[in-house]
Structure formats: C-alpha cells, structure tokens
C-alpha cells in the first residue's frame, strides 16, 4: 500500500508541475485525453502484468496488438460485420498468447526469448499481410468504442475500470490468482506445494494475449485505421507501465492498480513532453530511461529485502 501511495504522489507532482508550466494541461479536454490514452496502455499492460507476476514476461504484446488489429480490421471490412472482426482480433490475440505459453511450458524456453522471437515473427507476418496498405473507415458505432464518450467520459476509461476490477478480482479473489503470485515468489516452493505450474503459466500467457487482442480492437476503433506498424510503439510503454507500477520483474510482487498508476504516470510524462513541444522523437529515449530506472529501483528493493534475512 505504501508503495502505491508514493506512486500516486508522483503523479500528483507531475500533474502539478505540468499545470504550472503549461497552459493547456489542466483543461478538461487534455485530462480526458490523458485518461483515454492511459486506458489503452493499461489494457495492454494488464495482461502483461500477470505474466510478470510469475517472474516471466511477454515482449510480444505490442506486435500482437498490431497484427490482431490488422486482422480484425480486414475482416470487418471484407465481411461488413463488426462483431466478426472484433471476435477475430480477440481470438487471434488469445491464440498467440496460448502459443507463447506453450513455448514457455512445453519447450521450456526462457519467456523473454520465446516472446521476443514471437515479437519479430508477428512483425514480419503483419508487414507481409498488410503489404504497406492501410485500412480505414469503420462504422461510427464501432469507432465510439475507442474515440467516443459516454456520460461525458471517454469509453475506454470504462473498459479500463472494468478490467481493473476483473484483474483485481482475479489476483485477490481467485485461487488461480493466488497461485500465480506463489509461482512468482518461489517457483520451486509452489511446485512442491502442489501448485500446477504449467497450467497457471499457460493461463497467464493466454490472458496476456487475449488482452492484447482486446486492446487491438479498441485501438482500431480509436485510430479508425490499421496499418502494419501500429503495434511497434506499444510494447515499451506497456512494459514501462508495469514496472513503474511496482510489479517486480523477479515475480511475486505487484498489482493491477499499480499498473494502472504506472500507465497514468507514463502517459502524463509523454503528454507533458507533447505540451512542452518537445520533439516526439525523444519519447522512446525517455521511456527507455524510465524503464531502466524502474528496474533499478526494483533490483535495489529486492536486495534490501533479502539483506534482512
């Protein structure tokens, strides 16, 4: 709890700084925009959080979103059915997640290598599939999912809230969630306590993929277009959100609320950079530095905790 409070304080500080240094930060439009963008990042990062909790990682989420969005969009346009397209995106995303899980549990590949390989494979397939084309023009009803408002609040925020709730329920009120934490905290102890390791790992990677599929559909609605490279800039912010939120790369510690706060923090930083007219090319750099700092804090925290034994 204490750690979350520190992070909320950081958000407050950043927000305050931006309100002072720019005139457009503290406007309703901007705040809602920030919340909307954070929701999109959160949707991707939520499934990713589960894999990190098991001391694993899913580096393929961004590419997964990209390909799933392209597939969903293509199906939507060629069949004229939004539902079919959305379902395609979801199922495909989950399928990729299942494949990742199998690589980790059956082939025993280290998660970062397996998902890294998947990342590049998906990238390649996306470029081949789209071939430089762009699809755009989707029905307004569908677009509302990404760009619309309901009761004055952007729709994605409701999704964020819904999945925050679902994720919190999963991690705290299901036995599966508890077992996920146990696996991350000490895998061998969990195994010797009768926790079905492979089943749970398959589950978290499948969920990570499914959330990527869901995020893909929402992104499609938001951007109203899809092309081969939409997934590329998504992985690093998702990882950053998870790490900033306090979930440890070493497993067993973390929360979805933390990831949400992490997503908010990162979006605030990027938003601030945009408002301060800093070139967008600086963003990957800043995100990279933030990731390193967040991991460093993670390492230090762990070292300090272990020193007390």
């Amino acid at each position: 709890m204490k750690r979350l409070v520190y992070r909320l304080a950081a958000i407050a500080i950043i927000g305050a700084a931006l309100s002072v240094t720019t005139e457009s930060f503290l406007t309703v439009t901007n705040i809602l925009n920030v919340l909307r963008q954070s929701s999109l990042t959160f949707l991707i990062a939520s499934g990713l959080t589960l894999t990190v909790l098991t001391a694993g990682l899913d580096l393929s989420v961004g590419a997964n979103v990209g390909l799933s969005a392209c597939l969903a969009g293509t199906v939507m346009q060629s069949t004229g059915s939004v539902a079919l397209g959305a379902a395609t995106g979801l199922v495909f995303g989950a399928g990729i997640g299942i494949l990742n899980g199998l690589m980790v549990t059956v082939l025993r590949l280290p998660p970062f290598i397996a998902t890294y390989g998947m990342l590049w494979t998906l990238n390649g397939v996306t470029y081949w599939f789209m071939g430089g084309d762009t699809i755009h023009g989707f029905p307004p009803g569908f677009r509302a999912l990404g760009s619309g408002y309901w009761l004055g609040v952007p729709v994605p925020i409701y999704l964020m809230a819904a999945f925050l709730f679902a994720g919190a329920v999963f991690t705290r009120y299901t036995t599966h969630g508890h077992e996920v934490f146990a696996i991350g905290a000490n895998r061998e102890a969990a195994r010797l306590s009768g926790v079905p390791i492979r089943a749970r790992l398959n589950l978290v990677y499948a969920l990570s993929g499914a959330m990527a599929g869901l995020a893909a559909v929402v992104y499609l609605a938001r951007l109203n277009s899809a092309e081969a490279d939409i997934g590329e800039p998504l992985t690093l912010p998702a990882i950053a959100a998870v790490l900033i939120g306090g979930t440890s790369l070493f497993g067993g510690v973390g929360s979805l609320l933390g990831t949400l706060i992490g997503a908010l923090t990162l979006t605030l930083v990027v938003n601030g950079m945009n408002l301060l007219a800093i070139d967008a090319s600086w963003q990957p750099l800043v995100t990279g530095v933030i990731v390193i700092l967040a991991v460093w804090i993670d390492v230090l925290t762990r070292q300090r905790a272990e020193a007390t034994i």
Binding site: R172, Y173, T174, T175, N186, E188, G194, P196
Partner: protein
C-alpha cells in the same frame, strides 16, 4: 590449529578445537553431522574467521583474511561440490586465474599450460586428454582434476571432504594410491570421511569432534571401529520425546517397493502405517532426501512402485498433494516457503483447491482457517500478514507444517524438521508430530540427529549409498546401531 572457537547466531559451532597435522601425514577428521568439521575446515581455508584461537603453519602463527591468503600458504580444499567450469577444458580449469602468460599482453601460453597440466595429470596417474571439457568428465576424473588444481598451487596441506562419496570401488583404490603418493611427497592430507574402514587403508592419525569440541586424537593403528563410533556418539542419553509410542499401528499408508529414481535412489523398499512416526536415518549423501523427493513425485521415478493407500502415487507433486501427502523440505527457505509473502499466503497455498474448490477465494473463510492454524501450531507472529522472512526458524518451520495441516494432509514427509531451530521450538515440533500421528496420520521423518531419531520414532530405516540397508524396530533402535548400519561398508 589451536584453541579455535567459532560461534554463529544461535549456536556455538566450535569450542576451543585443536588440530595438529604433520607433513606427509594422512589425518582423518571424524564426527557426526553438526560436530563442527565443516566449520573448522572453512576457517582453515580462510572463508570464516575464528572468534578465538590461532592457526600456525610451520610453527608460524598466521592470520587468514581470505581464501587467497590460505592459498598462498599452500592450503587447498577440495569440497564435495566441485568448482570446475563446465565448458572450459581440463588445463584451463586447473590453471584458472593463474594461466601462464603468452608473448602478447593478455594472452595465454596455451602450449605451456597444457604441458604443465599433462605433467600434473601424469603424476597423478590419469591418462586424459587435457583438452577434454570439464562437463564431459566422470566424477572420479573431476576429482583428480581438482587434486591437480590444488597441487598446481603448490599445496602443502590438502583437505579432502568426503572424497569417496561418489566413487566406485576401483576408483577408490586409485584415489588411495594417489593419496599415498601425496604422502610420500610430503603433503599433509586432512581427510574427512564417514567410512571408518578407510582409516585402516590410508590413515595415520585420527581426530574426533563432537558437539564442537575435541574428543580424542589418536594413532590410526590404535583405533578400532567400535571405539571410534563410541567416541563420536559420546555418552548415550536415554531421553524420549514421545509420551507414548505407537502400540498398534493402523493400515499401511505408504508402501514403497524396489524404487529406483533418476536422482540416484536404488532398490528402496519401505512401508509406513497410520499412527507411526517412521524414521529415515543415514549420513549426509546417503540418499534420504532423494528418496523423499522420489516418493513425493518431485523427482522422477524410473522403476519400482509407490503405493499410497493401495493406489499408485504418480503424477508429480500436484497429485501427491491432492492425495493427501505433504512434504516439509530439507531447505525450508528455498523449497518450502515463499519468503516474500505473508504467513497467511504461505499457510494457504497448498490448501487452496481443497478449501475453495470452486476457485473463488473468500477472504473471511481464509482468515478463519489461517488464524485457526496459527493458534493450533502456536506460530508466534504478530499477525497473519507478517512476511515469513521475518519469522524465526522454528516459526517458519511451523508455517510449513501449518501449510500441510491446512491442506488436509494425512501423510507427512518431514526432512530434517528441527535443523537450525532452538531447543524450545524443537520440543514444540516434536509435540506437533506426536499430535499428528495420535490423530491417525503417518509421518516419515528424515533426520541426521541420531538422538532425535531414537527419541521420536517408532521405528527407523537406515540408508547408505542411496539404498536402504536396514530396518530397526523400536526395541532395537539405538544410536550406535543406526551409526553402525549407516557407516559399515559391506
């Protein structure tokens, strides 16, 4: 070494221990597990600092600040876990960190290195290509490489820790030849082993430690096996921790038949009945933990059967736990607990699917179960939320037991249940074990403390060399009988 004392938190490992070794002498260091041998050796090689006492080499008092100091003085230790780098070759391993320099700065004179390595191996009688990678060597060969490594540092005092534990008879003979050659060249050898018959083969003198103190130092020729066993055990203490031993055991809960596992266990046969505490005794390396893990399904069974209540127990820990078996591992911190999680989380983890079969975790019910367990086992913790890493050893062990209690286990395999636990907590653990079997459960207890086995168990099996070599009924269960079975080489 003179008057060496060393204390660790909670335990006095050594109390004014002295050890005198002459050049060209093979000096056996004997003692039960926990008698202080390892600590003494670690002090000798510079890994630990003694609280008092001093070390004299060639009559000159020295202060060993680090392993490097020890090495410079010619002290080399060959531990049981070898320190070779798997994908470097033999010569590279021997000269790691001391490679002969080549012409260009930073290069190695590989020809000289291999030639020197060849010479060392020849002196030790090992015909092996120096370009062989370490991971391709057999255990016996690795050992020779380790000896060569020590010799290459001009070792004058060589400590060997359980050198024959993993060797075949033939390889043991070769080792003895090498040791005799070392003797002849003036090297002093400190030899730790539980195989008393080896003393007659190569020993010159023997020192016995018990409970961190010197008990005796005598010539090898003057020592008989019986006398040495007696010295190691000391005064026989007739205490029992059980208020009532099992008169009429119930049905057979566990039946293990001719079990072979890929961790080395061979031809193991035993049975445990309801209401019994069955001991599994033996020396370090005899295979007890391996047998426990094979029964539990943590390691793979190759041949033979494990029947639990008449049904085959297969499918790994998941099935074992579901069937009602619980394992309290030897290394509770690494394998039994998630230190970064709370008492509550640790206590519940094995019982989650029993308590909440639908998958929905109800916090109120969970808390009730946890508080009940804490009360029953008298776990000293300010709250269930306390992280387990802050608990004392005894309470951590109770959390592990509590985990199986909550999971509803009826058969408990406990591996070294009271290791690293203070006396008061030990008594509580025994009380808990007694309660378990009084309720009709069964316990298989692994212990290296002979007194504990005798005091707590209804009967005991003894293991040696990864197989079961004997069974002792209640009336036959004495420390000396266990030790004799555990050590005698047929």
């Amino acid at each position: 070494m003179r008057g060496i004392s060393k204390a660790f938190p909670g335990v006095r490992a050594l109390e004014r221990v002295s050890l005198t070794v002459a050049a060209g002498e093979v000096h056996f260091l004997l003692g039960q597990n926990g008698a202080g041998k390892s600590t003494l050796i670690r002090i000798l090689c510079g890994a630990h600092h003694p609280d008092e006492g001093d070390i004299l080499v060639d009559g000159v008092s020295t202060h060993l600040r680090s392993p490097a100091d020890a090495r410079r003085l010619g002290i080399a230790v060959i531990f049981q876990e070898f320190s070779l780098v798997p994908y470097l070759d033999v010569a590279q391993n021997i000269f790691l960190g001391r490679e002969p320099r080549g012409r260009l700065p930073g290069t190695v004179d590989t020809r000289k290195m291999h030639a020197d390595a060849r010479r060392l191996l020849d002196a030790l009688g090992l015909a092996l290509d120096t370009r062989t990678l370490a991971h391709e060597l057999g255990i016996a060969q690795q050992q020779v490489v380790e000896i060569a490594k020590a010799l290459s540092q001009d070792a004058r005092i060589l400590v060997m820790d359980e050198p024959t534990a993993a060797l075949s008879d033939h390889e043991i003979e070769r080792l003895f030849e090498r040791v005799r050659a070392l003797k002849a060249s003036g090297v002093a050898v400190i030899y730790i082993s539980h195989r008393l018959q080896e003393i007659a083969a190569i020993g010159d003198r023997v020192t016995v430690l018990r409970d961190g103190r010197n008990v005796a130092s005598l010539d090898a020729s003057a020592a008989t096996v019986d006398e040495l066993v007696h010295l190691m055990l000391g005064r026989v203490v007739e205490t029992t921790y059980r208020s009532r031993f099992c008169e009429q055991p119930g049905e057979v809960v566990l039946a293990v038949n001719d079990l072979f596992a890929d961790n080395g266990v061979r031809a193991a046969t035993l049975s445990v009945r309801a209401g019994e505490v069955v001991g599994l005794a033996g020396l370090v390396g005899s295979g007890r933990s391996e047998l426990a893990r094979a029964i539990f399904g943590a390691d793979r069974v190759v041949r033979g059967s494990v029947l639990f209540h008449g049904q085959p127990l297969v499918g790994g820990p998941v099935r074992a736990v579901r069937a009602g078996v619980g394992l309290v591992p030897e290394n509770r911190k690494a394998d039994g607990l998630a230190l970064s999680r709370s008492v509550q989380d640790n206590v519940l983890v094995a019982g989650l699917r029993t308590l909440f079969p639908s998958g929905w975790y109800r916090a109120s019910a969970a808390l009730r179960v946890v508080n009940d367990a804490i009360a029953r086992l008298r776990i000293a913790t300010p709250s269930p939320e306390r992280l387990v890493r802050f608990l004392s050893g005894g309470n951590q062990q109770k959390v592990v037991l509590g985990k199986w209690f909550v999971a509803g286990s009826r058969f408990f395999i406990v591996d070294e249940p009271t290791r690293g636990i203070d006396v008061g907590a030990k008594a509580e653990i025994y009380r808990l074990i007694e309660q378990l079997v009084a309720d009709g459960a069964a316990v298989l207890m692994i212990s290296s403390e002979l007194a504990e086995v005798v005091a707590v168990c209804d009967r005991a099996y003894v293991m040696r060399d990864k197989t079961i070599v004997g069974e002792l009924a209640r009336t036959e269960l004495t420390e000396s009988r266990i030790l004799t079975l555990a050590m005698h080489h047929a």
